[in-house]
Point group: C2
Chain length 232, copies 2
Amino acid sequence: MLLRQLFDHESYTYTYLLADADTSEAVLIDPVDVHLEMYLRLLEELGCKLVAALDTHVHADHVTALGLLREATGCATMVGFEGEVDCASEGLADGKVIAVGAIEINTLFTPGHTDDSFCFVVKDGSQTYLFSGDTLFIRGTGRTDFQNGDPGTLYDSLHKKVLTLPDDTLVYPGHDYKGWTVSTIAEEKRANPRLEPATKEAFIELMNGLDLPDPKMMDVAVPANRSCGLKS
Amino acid sequence: MLLRQLFDHESYTYTYLLADADTSEAVLIDPVDVHLEMYLRLLEELGCKLVAALDTHVHADHVTALGLLREATGCATMVGFEGEVDCASEGLADGKVIAVGAIEINTLFTPGHTDDSFCFVVKDGSQTYLFSGDTLFIRGTGRTDFQNGDPGTLYDSLHKKVLTLPDDTLVYPGHDYKGWTVSTIAEEKRANPRLEPATKEAFIELMNGLDLPDPKMMDVAVPANRSCGLKS
């Protein structure tokens, strides 16, 4: 499996390119609209064909490239709930398996940051990879104070699903603001302050006390992403 | 082998932490002074002991953390030429092997970007890793117009040394300005415009025509790095 982690300096978003090295079929996770040309160039340079583009959730801090990628390549576009983003070609669902060549992308429904948040789990040989979107960050989690976010739901998604993955799972987050690129489940269990609260109630209190400003692109990004980033 | 790639948003520098997962001995490549506390925290969270800190060359765009790390941890500090950075505990040399637990870091002397530029090559199982400093970037190379840089010398370092590594070698550069994190030797051979010139003369002409502004921290960084980032 070929894996490329790409960083958007404006919104601190990580986009991931996964490709089957044998069939050259590829998928992009959480692509950002302004980097369309870069993605197309990278795909061409790697000799890859994009078969799908996935968003872990409807983002509030950047505009998705799903619509532009579909127009440019004809790829499938998948987001949480088809009903909310009717331009997407498919919805996601807990347990859904997305095949990209021999790569099987396993979908985990992990609401909490938003009500439409998903993670993707991929195994390559003995190594498990988690693409955790905004559900789990390196030493943090996504916030829970808009888009039907809910701290109790996030707590359950983390503790009942994400943290049950193998300890050596590589964690690739949807954002990082401090210059970190990757972690593991074991490392996050040990050192992530958002995983310290011993009870769901304590986690809810922590999250409800954060008092964060709105993301600066929220008013633009959320409506735009409901149409796959394409202007209506 | 544990590998962590860390990004400095100010100077677009990549720092690398390598550690032997069994002995927990670790090394940092190209650490940046302002992130000292982050490195120390990460080492502690991973349960690692820093045994060495290496600079690929005397940097002109950020101040090294070598001196601060030595003061904090007692680690060895290694830079190209001992004579130029007399606070370093050891110099580097072509073919030198630095042992960090079971990890063998092989030193390649690759002058051209500067006259003291080195790359580091590590094998882990069947995978080769190149930490290429400013000798080879993803789709680029370091510039050659200061600190005794020389385009003809860089051409030789690239074509006679770096590009002779296995095609599937993972290339981890010293900087990236576009949001890319990793590449391979095969990918760079195919798509790096700085590797397109068919002759050394054409490469020299290309590099001498770049007409780049000085790095903004150059006047501060170079003298500071000659004392390992410590104030005199």
